[in-house]
Assembly symmetry: C2
Homo-oligomer: 114 residues x 2
Amino acid sequence: MVNKQTVSAVFAALADPTRRRILERLATGGEARATALARPFRISLPAISRHLRVLEGARLIERRRKGRLHLIRARAAGLAEARRWMAHYAAGWDAAFDALDELLHKDREKGKRE
Amino acid sequence: MVNKQTVSAVFAALADPTRRRILERLATGGEARATALARPFRISLPAISRHLRVLEGARLIERRRKGRLHLIRARAAGLAEARRWMAHYAAGWDAAFDALDELLHKDREKGKRE
DNA sequence: TCCATGTTTAACTCAGCCGTTAAATAAGTG
DNA sequence: CACTTATTTAACGGCTGAGTTAAACATGGA
């Protein structure tokens, strides 16, 4: 099962700086090949491959295969649950702001309805 | 050094369900003693003590000592950096929503100015 | 078919996390 | 002081995560 999205999986995926940099790259640069994602890093291809699997498990990225290329792109909805968690519990500290924050999230999901 | 707040530390702290439940408890119930936080869990006091140190390191909680009691409370600002990260990079996927989201965060910080 | 390219899987190491129990430290109370 | 309560530190075990190199798998092209 490659597909184990939980709040924990999302946070754990984001806890690694390499994975965050991969996401940053995808967010600003759009879809990219696995090897291209590896290039900026000092680490080996297999290591990147595993990071991609972790991100995929957390549903933070999506993979599309075109021949022997694996094309990766970020998956916005994957962040949603984690952000919702933060918004919800931050609400205990700072109710006004986060209530609004959460409304916005709901709004967004309504729009996307993936 | 108990104080190593980084984006990684915040996400790593949030990746553990026990720690998230502790934060939930603090968010909804307010300040609490260390032992009281431990009670709902099956795990030992030392284990909780360590979770608290992790949360403290990520600056997600604050500790105040009153005699032999350690009074713990959630620290909203600790989430800010992680949320900012999410808002910023989610922006690559979903610019309109997150631009607004980020504005709200800025607003909030202006208000708090701790 | 043969070879090169892109990516993953296998097998292993090392470090760190989470849990345990036992002992230490700290502070109130009779 | 002796005792109890609150919490942390020490020392250890097991599991997982992140890295490595070597080999396998998959696809495209001469």
